[in-house]
């Protein structure tokens, strides 16, 4: 994969919650047009890293997007700059309908006339959402909620999408579908930073991957390299 320009760069990122240091000085970058995956055990600090990028937790270190330092930019402006996140646990607004959840994600979009097309795109990818437009988010099944969360990120039309375990709790057929969709989204120009437990799948779609272990980066390489790395295999791919 030929490398374009650096879109997102994370340098010496440190995130702590009170006395707990969740991320202990990691650095990595994401090039324009890539899919990069972060894998690692529970509690390794993957989600915290994503939260730091989106500006919803304070951090030490530098994060730049298109060369701009994100530190002093509030979370909502970061979204407007083009970083969308599918948060861990989906973050669906349970008291809003499916349609309203999607609509809300267009808050900072300027290209209002493009929005209907994007709804159509989301409903094409997830026909189930189209059936459930009027249902309250809180009563959707786990998988339906995950679709909605991804759909919502699509609606905000970021240049970059951060996904936190999008395959969690999904039926196999949907997992495959999600990964296919991710590839599609990526091919249509969105850079993706993907956090996954399903390391097999993640490394297969990713251009590059980083393995986090208790707050630091333990391994890095292309997706295929990591898939073949015996230490990675043993710890994350189930032998």
């Amino acid at each position: 994969m030929s490398q374009g320009k650096v879109l997102l760069s994370v340098q010496d990122l440190v995130i702590s919650y009170g006395n707990i240091k969740a991320v202990k000085g990691i650095s990595f970058e994401v090039y324009e047009g890539e899919i990069v995956t972060l894998i690692g055990a529970n509690g390794a600090g993957k989600s915290s890293t994503l939260r730091g990028i989106s500006g919803i937790v304070p951090y030490k270190g530098t994060i730049t997007f298109e060369g701009k330092d994100l530190k002093s930019i509030p979370a909502d402006k970061i979204v407007a700059m083009g970083i969308a996140q599918v948060p861990e646990g989906r973050g669906i607004f349970g008291n809003l309908t499916v349609m309203e959840n999607l609509k809300l994600a267009t808050w900072s979009r300027k290209d209002k006339q493009e929005i209907p097309k994007d709804y159509q795109r989301v409903f094409d990818i997830f026909p189930r959402l189209s059936e459930r437009q009027g249902q309250l988010g809180g009563t959707l099944s786990g998988g339906e909620q995950q679709m909605l969360a991804v759909g919502r990120a699509l609606m905000s039309r970021g240049r970059m999408m951060l996904l936190d375990e999008p395959s969690m709790g999904l039926a196999p057929v949907l997992v495959r579908e999600i990964f296919t969709v991710l590839r599609e989204i990526n091919q249509s120009g969105t850079t993706i930073l993907l956090v996954e437990q399903n390391a097999n799948m993640a490394l297969r779609v990713a251009n590059r991957g980083y393995v986090l272990e208790t707050g630091t980066i333990a391994h890095t390489g292309t997706g295929l390299e990591l898939l073949g790395n015996p230490r990675v295999k043993e710890a994350y791919l189930g032998g």
Partner: protein
């Protein structure tokens, strides 16, 4: 028959006043899921702003109303910033208790400057028409109309607009809202300003209908509006309206047809029974949750 009509009209007026205050209550509740126990006292401030503007600046009705609404909104936003915002991550009751404290503070602070009840000058010429033995006053009609208009307006904002959606989203999960590109603090402040200015407006209307005001006037009515909001289904705009009318209706009609000594007893027992049969209020639903 005239008697009944008159009493129904009385009930409508009282109900619309309760509704007017309950609207602001429900509005703030709707976003922060926090009972703003200071709302009754912001309502009182509204009445006092009205008094000051009308007595010392000799302003007519509309400017007075605006001044009161803006004044109360500013106080409301300040309170939000300094007393409630630091508690966003804290348990819900902490903010409720803080609100209680803020309310007591507002009452007694006002009291230091106004230990005696004050009389509010007439801003709207109040004509009374007698139709078939039933008296209707213009003020009554204005209050009823105002509360209905505000209810429809708010209902529209909350249900149909983007801002309204954002408000509802905030009530569900504040943490996720910024990830949608929504400026959380701004929306919260805006809602707070809106909700409290409604309280201010209610204060003005109340001061015109009952032109004797004092620093504690918001306490009892604040609790009653809270009851109205909850009976209707707290967080629900239409519910607040219905709750207000139910409470007003029950109070008036019990006093009208039973010995008035028993009014509170019967009225509150009825409300209790109502809540036993509709545990989440008339229009309220328990927060949908999946197990």
């Amino acid at each position: 028959m005239t008697y009944l009509f008159q009493q129904v009209l009385n009930a409508l007026q009282l109900g619309s006043i309760y509704a007017l205050i309950a609207l602001g209550y429900t509005m703030v509740y709707g976003i922060l899921t926090m009972i703003n126990f200071a709302h009754g006292d912001l309502f009182m401030l509204g009445a006092f702003f009205c008094f000051l503007a009308a007595t010392f600046l000799h302003l007519p009705f509309i400017p007075t109303l605006l001044i009161a609404m803006i004044g109360v909104a500013i106080v409301g936003v300040l309170i939000e910033r300094f007393a409630y915002k630091p508690l966003r991550q804290a348990p819900r009751v902490s903010a409720i208790i803080t609100a209680l404290g803020v309310g007591i503070f507002l009452e007694n602070f006002t009291l230091v400057f106004a230990p005696y009840p004050q009389s509010v000058p007439t801003l709207i010429k109040n004509t009374t028409w007698v139709i078939g033995g039933v008296s209707i006053s213009s003020l009554q009609l204005i209050i009823i109309a105002l509360s209905i208009v505000l209810m429809i307006l708010l209902d529209f904002i909350v249900r149909k607009t983007m801002v309204g959606m954002a408000m509802r989203a905030i009530s569900w999960d504040k943490a996720i809202v910024p990830l949608m590109g929504i400026p959380l603090d701004l929306v919260i402040s805006a809602t707070f300003a809106l909700g409290t200015s409604l309280g201010g407006a209610a204060g003005v209307m109340y001061a015109l209908a009952f032109p004797v005001i004092d620093p504690y006037m918001g306490v009892l009515i604040g609790w009653k509006a809270f009851i109205a909001a909850v009976v209707g289904g707290i967080g629900n705009i239409r519910g607040a309206m219905i709750g207000g009318f139910i409470l007003g209706g029950v109070e008036i009609l019990v006093a009208a047809f039973l010995p008035s000594t028993y009014r509170d007893f019967v009225a509150f027992t009825l409300l209790l029974v109502l809540l036993i049969f509709r545990p989440y209020g008339i229009l309220g639903k328990p927060r949908p949750q999946k197990v």
